[in-house]
C-alpha cells in the first residue's frame, strides 16, 4: 500500500466501472478513503465490496450526477461518513455520436447535462466543503475531443471543450483559497464505454497514435492520482492529454 493519498477523502463519480473504478482502486491503494458515486446500485455495491476486500475504506452513494439534489446529498453523505472532503474526481460522462442536425433538443440537453452540468454540480457542492479544510483538489474528465473536433461528436465535443475551459476558470477563482482544479483528456481507452466500437475502427484509431495501443483505465487512474495528490501542489488549470500521443499531429 502506498501513502500518496494518506488521510484524504475522495469522491469519484462514475466510480463503479471502467476508468472510475480503476481510479477508485488506485486511490484506495494509496491510502484514500473513497466514496464511489454511481447510478447503478448493484454495480456500486460490487465495486465497494471489491475495494473493501483489498483492505480499503470505501462506500457507495447512489447518485445521478445531473441532479442537484443527488449531488448535494452525495457531498452531505461524504461529510457525514468521513468528516471531510479533499478530492472530487468528476468522471461520470456519456456519449452518443451524432451531428448537430441529428440531435433533438432533449438529446442535446441530456448530453450537456451529463458531461458538463455534472461538473458544475459537483464543484458547486464540493468546493464549499473543501474550503472548510483550507483547500482541496478537483480533477475533471474532459477528453481529447474537447481539444480537437471529431466527426459526428457535436454535443460531446462541445461539452468536453466547456469542461476544459470551466476547469481553467475555476482554477482562477478558487486557487487563492487553496482549491486546485485540473482536467484529464483521455484519448482512446478500452472501457465499457468503448466496448461497442467496431474492431476495424478501433484498429485504425490505434494505428494513428504514436504509441500504437489503446489506453487502459489504469493509464487514466495514474494521471488522476498525480493530479489529486500533493505531488502536483503547484499544478492548477491544466488539461492533461493521456492519449498515446494522438494529439501531437492534431
Amino acid at each position: 500500500m502506498g501513502e500518496r493519498l494518506a488521510e484524504k477523502v475522495a469522491v469519484i463519480t462514475g466510480g463503479s466501472s471502467g476508468i472510475g473504478l480503476a481510479s477508485a482502486r488506485l486511490f484506495v491503494a494509496e491510502g484514500a478513503r473513497v466514496v464511489v458515486a454511481a447510478r447503478d446500485a448493484e454495480r456500486g455495491a460490487a465495486a465497494v465490496a471489491a475495494l473493501r476486500a483489498s483492505g480499503g475504506d470505501a462506500r457507495y452513494v447512489p447518485c445521478d450526477v445531473t441532479s442537484a439534489e443527488h449531488v448535494a446529498r452525495l457531498v452531505e453523505t461524504t461529510l457525514a461518513a468521513y468528516g471531510r472532503l479533499d478530492i472530487l474526481f468528476n468522471h461520470a460522462g456519456a456519449n452518443r455520436a451524432a451531428r448537430v442536425t441529428e440531435l433533438d433538443e432533449a438529446e442535446w440537453d441530456a448530453l450537456l447535462n451529463v458531461n458538463l452540468k455534472s461538473v458544475y454540480l459537483g464543484c458547486r457542492f464540493a468546493i464549499p466543503a473543501m474550503l472548510v479544510n483550507g483547500g482541496g483538489c478537483i480533477v475533471n474528465t474532459a477528453g481529447t475531443f474537447g481539444l480537437v473536433a471529431r466527426p459526428a461528436q457535436a454535443a460531446y465535443c462541445a461539452a468536453k471543450a466547456a469542461v476544459i475551459h470551466l476547469t481553467r476558470q475555476m482554477a482562477l477563482d478558487y486557487g487563492p483559497q487553496g482549491v486546485r482544479v485540473n482536467c484529464i483528456c483521455p484519448g482512446y481507452i478500452d472501457t465499457p464505454l468503448t466496448a461497442g466500437v467496431p474492431a476495424a475502427m478501433r484498429a485504425s484509431i490505434i494505428a494513428a497514435q504514436p504509441l500504437r495501443r489503446a489506453g487502459k483505465p489504469e493509464d487514466i487512474a495514474e494521471a488522476a492520482l498525480y493530479l489529486a495528490s500533493d505531488a502536483s501542489s503547484f499544478v492548477t488549470g491544466v488539461a492533461l492529454p493521456v492519449d498515446g500521443g494522438q494529439l501531437v499531429s492534431g
Binding site: L172, P210, L240, V242, G245, V248
Partner: protein, 251 residues
C-alpha cells in the same frame, strides 16, 4: 514501493535548481543516476547526496552544447550502468536582453544551451535506444515561455518554444518504437535562474497577481512532475506539455 526502482536516468544540468531536485527525487524512488553539468564540483555534490539515498550515481563535467562531450557523457552512462531508461534534458540558462540590442553571440548562446542541447543529447540517447531495440522516456524542460511572451526574453522564448516543438516531433517519430517524449513547463520556480527577479518587489507583486495559487514554485514541484512523466505511471502519455505554474496559463 519505489517508483523508479531498477531504472537509470541521465539528468543534465544537475548541479543546482530543478536538475538537482529532479536527481534527488529520482534517487528517493530508487533510480540510478548519470548526472552531468558544466559545474563539476557542484554536480559531484548532487551525486554524493543521491548515493547517500542508496542508489548509484555518477557525475561528469559535460557542456551540453558540445557534441563530443555529450557523446562521451552518454557512452559513460551506458558503460557505468549498462542501460539508460530515462533522459531529462534540464540544463539551461537565462539572461535578459532587449531584442534591438541582442548580439549574435547572445542569441546563439541561448539557442545553443537551451535548444540545440536538447537536439544533441536526445539524438545521442535515441541512437542508443534504437540500436538496442528498446524505448525510453524523455522529459524536456520547456517553460511557460514556450507559450507566452516575456519582455527582454525573445531568445529564451524562441528556444523554449523550439524545445516544445522538438519534443512533440520526437513523440510522433519514435513513439512506435517505444520512446515517449514530454515537456514540463514550469512557471516561476525559485532557483538561481529566478533569484535576481525574485529580489525585486515590483516584479514579485506583478507575478503574484498572475499566479492563482499565490506562490512561486519550488524545484521539488518540478521534480514531482518529472517523476510522473519519467515513470511508467505515464506510459500512455507522449507529446504532452505539463504546466507546473500555479495556474499562470489559465488567464
Amino acid at each position: 514501493m519505489a517508483r523508479l526502482s531498477g531504472k537509470t536516468a541521465i539528468v543534465t544540468g544537475a548541479a543546482a535548481g530543478n536538475g538537482q531536485a529532479i536527481a534527488l527525487r529520482f534517487a528517493e524512488e530508487g533510480c540510478n543516476l548519470a548526472l552531468s553539468d558544466v559545474n563539476l564540483s557542484a554536480v559531484q555534490e548532487t551525486a554524493a547526496q543521491c548515493t547517500a539515498l542508496g542508489v548509484r550515481a555518477s557525475a561528469e563535467r559535460t557542456d551540453v552544447t558540445a557534441r563530443a562531450e555529450v557523446e562521451m557523457m552518454v557512452e559513460a552512462a551506458w558503460a557505468n550502468f549498462g542501460t539508460v531508461d530515462i533522459l531529462v534534458n534540464n540544463a539551461g540558462i537565462f539572461f535578459n536582453a532587449a531584442f534591438d540590442e541582442m548580439s549574435d553571440d547572445q542569441w546563439r548562446r541561448m539557442l545553443d544551451t537551451n535548444l540545440t542541447s536538447v537536439f544533441l543529447v536526445s539524438q545521442t540517447v535515441i541512437r542508443h535506444w534504437l540500436a538496442a531495440e528498446r524505448g525510453g522516456a524523455i522529459v524536456n524542460l520547456a517553460s511557460i515561455s514556450s507559450s507566452v511572451a516575456f519582455t527582454r526574453s525573445a531568445h529564451y522564448c524562441a528556444a523554449k518554444a523550439g524545445v516544445t516543438a522538438l519534443s512533440r516531433c520526437l513523440a510522433l517519430e519514435y513513439g512506435p518504437r517505444g520512446v515517449r517524449s514530454n515537456c514540463l513547463a514550469p512557471g516561476i520556480i525559485e532557483t538561481a535562474m529566478t533569484r535576481p527577479a525574485l529580489g525585486d518587489p515590483a516584479t514579485v507583486t506583478d507575478w503574484m497577481r498572475r499566479i492563482p495559487l499565490k506562490r512561486v514554485g519550488q524545484p521539488r514541484d518540478v521534480a514531482d512532475g518529472a517523476l510522473f512523466l519519467a515513470s511508467d505511471e505515464s506510459a500512455y502519455i507522449t507529446g504532452d506539455m505539463l504546466y507546473i505554474d500555479g495556474g499562470w496559463m489559465v488567464e
